[in-house]
Symmetry: D2
């Protein structure tokens, strides 16, 4: 049997980083991952100091990032669970050092400059970043597995984007959607999607017993959806909402079909598209996914409801934003890059 | 100064009944309301036995329903916070007894038989119910105040319906909506909207950390919306969701405008429509209502966001399902029926 | 009828300040209160900018603190809902200006220097503060109404302290408690008690689906309890916990009775103590208060359960930390200071 | 390597049954478990119909209980996650059939008749049940591992009882507790501990934004605690509370030490007792466990805080009521019965 892979993770003190650390630790084909802290960290020497839930398990030592040290340890795959600016500045060096990278931030997901404008980096003036932007593969395994396998740099998708793209891709590919009539995704996310930094918006009293819409027409994940689904910007209306739950996403998506259609045809389109793919579950109508069903799993659950007119279609897409929407999907990408079963380490 | 009005409430053991009792108790123009229990009640003699939060306030005695007794006490207005079947059977007698009625159920809201079919009563074979169905006034004060004032029977609107109709009515009246493109309301409600009867769906563990869609294309309040907004059934897609909060509704509504429009024009349409109306608050873009803002108040809060294309419009409508969506609106209707200020007793 | 009282509030941008503003606004014996902002405020000109739930009500203008201006407006009573350091520095001047003050912070609650040490101010070197510390009346109306009425400076009690003192005072006064055996209060509070400043501890993801104890043996409110109940420090063990709810406190209090006692005797002790007091409700065993029952009210609810041995007694004390635990109690104190009914403006 | 063990589970439609099914499915030393339904079941043929979160995993067929069929399939270990009455009636037959049994209900936990009286079965008139009651081993691995290993019938402990016993056992064994002064456990549990049957008490609106004490001095788990800790009934006061969270228990336990003690001594007592035991984590003071830390794990977390007087000791004990408090502990017991590592299948 082949030797185990050595990996490293930078940015383990956030919610996605914690989930990623847990999965990598238990993954049967990996050595214990190297956990890296950013210099401006809070001084913890072990991740269990930050997350006491990790205690009693032999320790999770944190090390400062050092390229020579990573090389010495034989790290061949680096996960970045860092803010996009950090990722933007570190990835070129990591690639130059011969590592493959899976980046969980938005730094490398967008190909079109008008979409990248929503981030504050200015990258296209630098040969290397421009080239990496081009090379980076959008790591949605259900769509791009062929290009993920050999990739040097994976841009792991956004959580909202994953829920919306997986719901729409089969229908758009099948050509049944009347794009002229517009596509709407009304999406709702748990608070961990907003990150771990305290703010007025994430204060318990602001979130509990509440629901709020935000970033209407202006969320960063919109560009990913449009690019991956090959839509025009105005084809898709996306409204995110903040739910009073810690984790989980539910997207309710509205499309108009070109022709009068039967529910069984819709179900077939989804089943044909996803039948060989282990991490998407298609619900038979009238059963619909709920946030709870996919929590703590790497599944994206899809269900639908078709109006009696046979044209108005409501899709429900659920996933755990920290797993299929972040860390789990990153591991699924690693599995593809290594030629392993996509389920490895994720069950 | 005129004598105070004597009222009675049947169905006080539910969530709306509790809120209604509290408001009526404090209403400066009312005598202490008579609280009636249904015969199949749980035997409580005082409402504070069911709702200990009411204790220490002098008692809330429950009495069995008796028409002669109500007459003897001079009750001139009866509130029904009962299931629709009860309301359907009691209202004809109440009207015959000379009382005016405000009914909080769905029993009398719908004029079109194809919409009423979603309820299980068969009413049109009976002269009196057919006639009452015709006479009943849909008690949405912001739309129907002229007809509410003299009405004998008020059908108090559904909570979802109130949130959707109030958001859409000004735009439809102004003629700016492209109905051909379809209107969508993605609505989310707290659990009290599902009533107080325990069920698998309202079990804490089923609701907490969760979000679920239900009754897609098939919710009872859809008929109310369509009738009041004078839409065709297929013009409006309505998807309710169950939120992990006790109370509150947020509807995210998607419309397409006929022409390219500026935000200020949208705001004007709303302000013109609602400026003299005390219980609707219009938020200036880009501020949006949140569920918390209208909790424990009788306000319906409206806000909007217009895409850069000037045609895709997202409306946000929030209210407390037990107040503006039920008991508060019932009192607002009573105020109109009595010729009082609509705010009386609701602040 | 006498003229209405003019009041001012400093510190309206916190949770208690908001509640206080709402109550004062509606209080029938007050003019509209003057709302003051601290200089280091966030620049809002109207409180509705900070709390959109206040919008649509005619405006809540914020003014900078100016003694001459307050005098010019005839303000005779000042509420401080500020951090204790601010209160410590402002109260001497306010008193010197001839205003009466109700301070909601911990600045003036403690008489004994060893208890005050838990706060970081050094006050006893200053004649004026030392004297004010002495004069300040602990504003718990159920215990100190005689001294509250004429007071210049009210130290409004802490939320935990109110729940614990009100439960224990009748029993201690009756002399039935075996103090030798120790008294324990295991108290649980909603998150608003921790204030509005964002922190890791108040992040939604840290609080939801969680419960945690904190400040064991070391909470600031312990000194208040001990002083007001005339206990020795070691007589009382107090453990606060952070509940995943926005507001509300439940204290479970354990005492050992000196003699074997019947439940009816305990109930009598409570009823005798509280019968003429409007804001404490005594529950008849076996009924126990729950957090929900007193939410959004000024009640403190008390219940108890006595073991079969007739000596082990469990007390349950519930209140809304923002009302009876802060703003409501402040208004109750004002009512006493003005010679009004204690219920005025609080129903 | 030895053949895998064949197990069966009766009562998989409850919360503990679901967790148990998931663990057994993944346990590396087990064949796929046989899932049994009670005859009065709801007719589901596959557990994924009841718990959609299980779908997409190859199916969880439910079979009717048949002793010959279980024998034919070679089932040697039976888990019962059923109400205690069912367990009381089935276990004698299961044992007679030669199976070993791990019962998750309260049916076999209590040795003393006065404690069993809280359950409604009358058992001691039947030779077999009386004998089984005697033989049954209380399955708390940290205390009884020697007797668990060879047992035929394991009475899996109650969730509250586990949290309290594990916190107190080391101190009582060390003889440092002043029992005369009384021991108090103020415990708080998530709602899944109340079971899956809908009721007024588990309705979302009754639980959310609330906290309530219940069954004071009268909870069924009290007998277990007293028997296992070899206390007199009046030594221990136990107050359970219902938390607005789906799962997790935190017990705050108050003991008085006989002698003035240093924190390091307390920590030593715990570390010595638990150092070779994998599923208890001892927190170094001043760090305290929180409910979140042990959620979704089989850990019981213990921490403590000692007053400056060196005698008043507060213990914090946390666990996941469905894992260490039920299904996880059952699997830990199975591991001991089979001579496997206690961690097997639980990580």
């Amino acid at each position: 049997m082949s030797a185990k892979l050595k990996t490293a993770v930078l940015g383990v003190s956030g919610y996605s980083g914690l989930e990623l650390t847990r999965i990598l630790e238990r993954h049967p084909r990996l050595e214990k991952p190297v956990l890296l802290r950013r210099e401006c960290g809070d001084g913890a020497n072990d991740l269990a100091e930050i997350f006491p839930e990790l205690s009693g398990n032999g320790g999770y030592p944190l090390r400062a990032l050092s390229w020579p040290e990573l090389k010495r340890q034989g790290v061949r795959l680096l996960f970045l669970a860092t803010p996009y600016e950090i990722s933007r500045s570190l990835v070129p060096e990591a690639i130059a050092q011969g590592m493959r990278v899976i980046d969980l931030s938005g730094a490398w997901r967008l190909k079109q400059a008008q979409h990248r404008a929503i981030y504050s980096f200015q990258d296209d003036d630098h040969v290397n970043t421009a080239s990496l932007t081009e090379q980076a593969v959008y790591g949605l395994p259900e769509l791009n597995s062929d290009r993920i396998a050999p990739a040097e740099l994976i841009a792991n998708p956004g959580c909202y984007a994953t829920s919306v793209i997986l719901a729409l891709a089969p229908l758009l590919k099948a050509g049944v959607v009347d794009r002229e009539r517009g596509i709407i995704s009304d999406s709702k996310s748990g608070v961990s999607g907003a990150g771990k930094s305290p703010s007025t918006h994430t204060h318990f009293v602001s979130v509990a017993d509440n629901l709020s819409a935000y970033a209407v027409f202006a969320h960063r994940h919109l560009g990913e959806m449009v690019e991956q689904l090959e839509l025009d910007d105005e084809d898709l209306t996306f409204t995110p909402h903040l739910l009073p739950i810690p984790r989980g996403i539910l997207s309710t998506i509205y499309v108009r079909l070109k022709n009068v259609t039967r529910p069984a045809e819709i179900e077939s389109i989804f089943r044909d598209f996803y039948s060989p793919k282990p991490w998407v579950r298609v619900f038979a109508t009238p059963k619909l996914p709920q946030v709870q069903y996919s929590l703590h799993s790497n599944y994206c659950d899809l269900g639908f409801c078709l109006a009696n007119d046979g044209q108005r279609l409501v899709l429900i897409s659920c996933l755990d934003n920290l797993l299929k929407g972040a860390a789990g999907q990153a591991v699924q990408n690693m599995n593809l890059m290594q030629g392993w079963d996509q389920r490895e380490g994720l069950q």
